[in-house]
């Protein structure tokens, strides 16, 4: 059964794990353990000890990325077994690698390789300074840019999530400052993220050469379904475009708000967040349009009722 007008969205790494995020997915745990075991053999033996809520690696950015990717790929596999294939897919932030797996552009193990290499390239260019990220909700893009410019902050809007929600990247010192300024400016919510990397900003521009060389050595297959770019909302079909997206994803600002609207224009009426969290589901409430965004767990419950 091909689910037209259905899009799978792959979230970035988790900042928290709910207790039982996949309890409606019969047999999912076996599927996840299989992928986890392969990842532990290939990438990091410690991964095999992952266990919600006992050991989640939330303070280890690389392992957290691995786990989110493994969960996403397990979901892809589980849904494939049920013959549920989306019409489109997109990777929010570091979810790009799982989107490539969904579209069968790369293998599961190649995704792990890309995650590790990207992380290594990033570490090379960020070791001299402390960086961070935060989320600011309740101000608009003009407010954000005006505040960054006025206060001469070494920051960049990394992701626009909706008209009033932004992820900001930059130096750790200025990340703290902007949360204070934003509250005075009238932001309804500010939160410093538990990351030390200024993703999707020019601070990572120097990863371009090394990561391009690495990515160009890898084999990318033609996608089995359209992947939508969060950088410019183009449909990625060619190998060159897909590789370019993987590279620029690290240092170019993303726009999830425009991406979700564009997917609506393409006829998508249902979005499924393929991860353990609910960040994309929550954010969807602030994106106009007559669509439904569900967690994988809720989506499965919805299908079971039909």
């Amino acid at each position: 059964m091909s689910q037209k007008k259905l899009a799978f969205v792959f979230p970035p790494f988790a900042s928290d794990y709910p207790d039982d995020p996949f309890n409606n997915l019969t047999g999912f745990d076996d599927c996840f353990r299989k992928y986890l075991s392969r990842a532990a053999e290939f990438a990091d033996p410690d991964l095999i000890n992952f266990e919600i809520p006992i050991k989640t690696y939330l303070d280890d950015e690389l392992k957290t990325q691995y786990i989110s990717y493994i969960q996403a790929c397990s979901l892809v596999s589980w849904f494939r077994q049920k013959e549920i294939i989306p019409a489109y897919c997109a990777g929010y932030s570091m979810g790009i690698y799982a989107a490539l797996f969904q579209a069968e552009v790369i293998s599961f193990l190649d995704g792990l390789v890309l995650i590790r290499q990207a992380f290594n390239e990033i570490k090379k260019v960020t070791k001299k300074q402390d960086f961070g990220m935060c989320i600011i909700i309740g101000l608009n893009m003009d407010d954000m840019n005006e505040m960054i410019s006025r206060e001469k902050l070494n920051l960049k809007v990394a992701i626009q999530n909706s008209v009033c929600s932004f992820s900001i990247s930059g130096t750790a010192e200025d990340i703290l400052k902007i949360t204070e300024y934003a509250q005075k400016e009238g932001a309804l919510s500010t939160r410093v993220l538990n990351v030390s990397i200024p993703y999707h900003s020019f601070f990572l521009q120097d990863t371009e050469t090394g990561f391009t060389e690495f990515v160009n050595q890898m084999q990318f297959r033609s996608p089995k379904m359209p992947i939508i770019s969060l950088v410019d909302q183009e449909i990625l079909l060619e190998e060159h475009a897909l590789k370019n997206e993987v590279v620029r994803n690290l240092f170019t600002s993303l726009n999830w708000y425009k991406t979700q609207l564009y997917l609506q224009e393409l006829g998508v009426t249902r979005f499924v967040e393929c991860g353990s969290g609910r960040g994309i589901v929550k954010n969807a409430r602030f994106i106009e349009g007559d669509t439904v965004t569900l967690t994988a767990n809720s989506f499965t419950a919805f299908l079971d009722k039909k």
């Binding site: 309740g138 509250q183 005075k184 400016e185 009238g186 932001a187 309804l188 919510s189 409430r285 602030f286």
Partner: protein, 102 residues
């Protein structure tokens, strides 16, 4: 400025109670005016924002989010009752909300 009637108060109260019962997956009977939104029912700031959007649409309100944000700094909301009171003030005063502090 909108006139706040008993009917408006009841409508706002019903919407807020039903919203949190649904979002936080708790029985509506367990929600009271002194229920702490974050500590008691695991609510978050996005829910507050969503409620604002619901009321903006329902009452066709002219208010900027940052006006509410600035007001919230001086008048933080912790309980359901405080949230209902603030929503009523937003409906009543819209973008003139901050003038209440002058």
């Amino acid at each position: 400025m909108a006139l706040i009637t008993e009917n408006t108060k009841k409508e706002v109260t019903d919407i807020v109670f039903n919203f949190f019962a649904d979002e936080c997956e708790v029985d509506i009977k367990d929600i009271h005016n002194d229920t702490n939104i974050i500590n008691d029912i695991d609510g978050d700031s996005l829910m507050f924002l969503e409620l604002i959007e619901i009321f903006k649409k329902k009452y066709n309100l002219d208010i900027e989010l940052k006006t509410i944000g600035k007001y919230s700094v001086k008048h933080p909301v912790q309980t359901i009752g405080q949230l209902i009171d603030m929503q009523l003030l937003i409906i009543e005063h819209e973008n003139k909300l901050l003038e209440l502090d002058h």
